[in-house]
Symmetry: C2
Subunit: 211 residues, 2 copies
């Protein structure tokens, strides 16, 4: 009700809130939304169960806070837009490598992404779509500067095909990592992925209507 006006007082509250979000990120990612309990999260964040409800109205709003901080699309788009590269192939290679490195270093990103889709059916997307779209436009501008053939393709179409191919490659990699050893270890390399992206996207741009 009252606005919190004393900074030194709200600071401790913010720290507690941050611990709760961090603990929730880890536990939601590990056990899923229904599989992680408020008590587990409270313990991990070293607060009492009731303490969480001083910062979040219910479990669902805690998940929302986690999503709005840690949704992979929110994290990966700025990184992709700032990728370096003097040629199209170099740019795509660096972008793909950056994407794969980020997801491999933080396996919870894919899990949070899937949990949001399963338990909330993508309902949080509208909350950060504006931010996404701005980064998408910038990414497309950089691409056109490297190869003008991309000027006929809508920025969002490029973003969908680019991100979609990367996501699919990462997911299939996860699946293949569960296949027992008698079978091949590395099936499909980052080089293969880069080839698909560079030549596939150029072909798609060439057949796009210049609207």
């Amino acid at each position: 009700m009252k606005p919190k006006s004393i900074a030194s007082k709200t600071e401790r509250g913010q720290q507690t809130r941050d611990r709760v979000v961090e603990a929730a990120l880890q536990l939601f990612a590990e056990h899923g939304y229904h599989g992680a309990s408020m008590r587990q999260i409270a313990d991990a964040a070293t607060v009492a169960v009731g303490g969480i409800y001083n910062h979040f109205r219910n479990k669902e709003e805690l998940l929302t806070a986690v999503i709005l901080t840690w949704h992979p699309l929110l994290l990966i788009m700025p990184a992709l837009a700032e990728t370096e590269g003097d040629s199209l192939e170099e740019f795509v290679r660096n972008a793909a490598q950056g994407f794969l490195d980020t997801f491999r270093e933080r396996p919870e990103l894919l899990r949070i992404f899937m949990i949001e889709m399963i338990d909330f059916d993508g309902a949080h997307i509208p909350y950060f779509f504006e931010t996404m779209e701005a980064k998408t436009t910038y990414l497309h501008e950089r691409l056109v500067a490297l190869d003008e053939r991309f000027c006929t393709m809508a920025p969002l179409t490029f973003a969908r095909l680019f991100l979609g191919t990367l996501i699919g490659f990462y997911i299939t990699g996860k699946l293949l990592s569960r296949v027992p050893p008698p079978h091949v270890q590395t099936i499909g390399t980052t080089d293969d992925l880069v080839q698909v992206l560079v030549h596939g996207l150029i072909a798609a741009a060439a057949s796009s209507p210049a609207d």
Copy 2:
């Protein structure tokens, strides 16, 4: 212990089991593994809660039964391998359309796929990898017949890039369907996807080592 010898008696049991698996598929897909209760599943299958335990030792084994019948990779590979098409582009177009149609008609497929990844971390993959691999080999043979440039690419590498790109396109489509109306409706068409697949995969095959 004893082998079931009288068919007419076990038939009713099989019918009950089938109803349970069907109900579990729908409810796991809708609410997730931890979000769907054994009571909900029992009600939907018109059996008592205890009745489920005559067929499955616990909730986890019920999920396993659902996965081994309905995992999308298990369903989609035979369909892809039997796709018709007299040219590479026609084959890829029909395969992509068949994939997208199947997933759009049965939205539970993607959800079951993700639920297995989140709650069981792909642990069921080994159970049907052999079947997958056989179909993969056949799919690759059909492709080489249409365009011999694919003979240098390993069948599983092709399958990973092909399925991965399709999965990524479908998932990004799901995400975009949640974006509010002021923004564009169709971002990326099936034609764009086909272009990426045809030209991307040819490029990847061309740069593959002929081992």
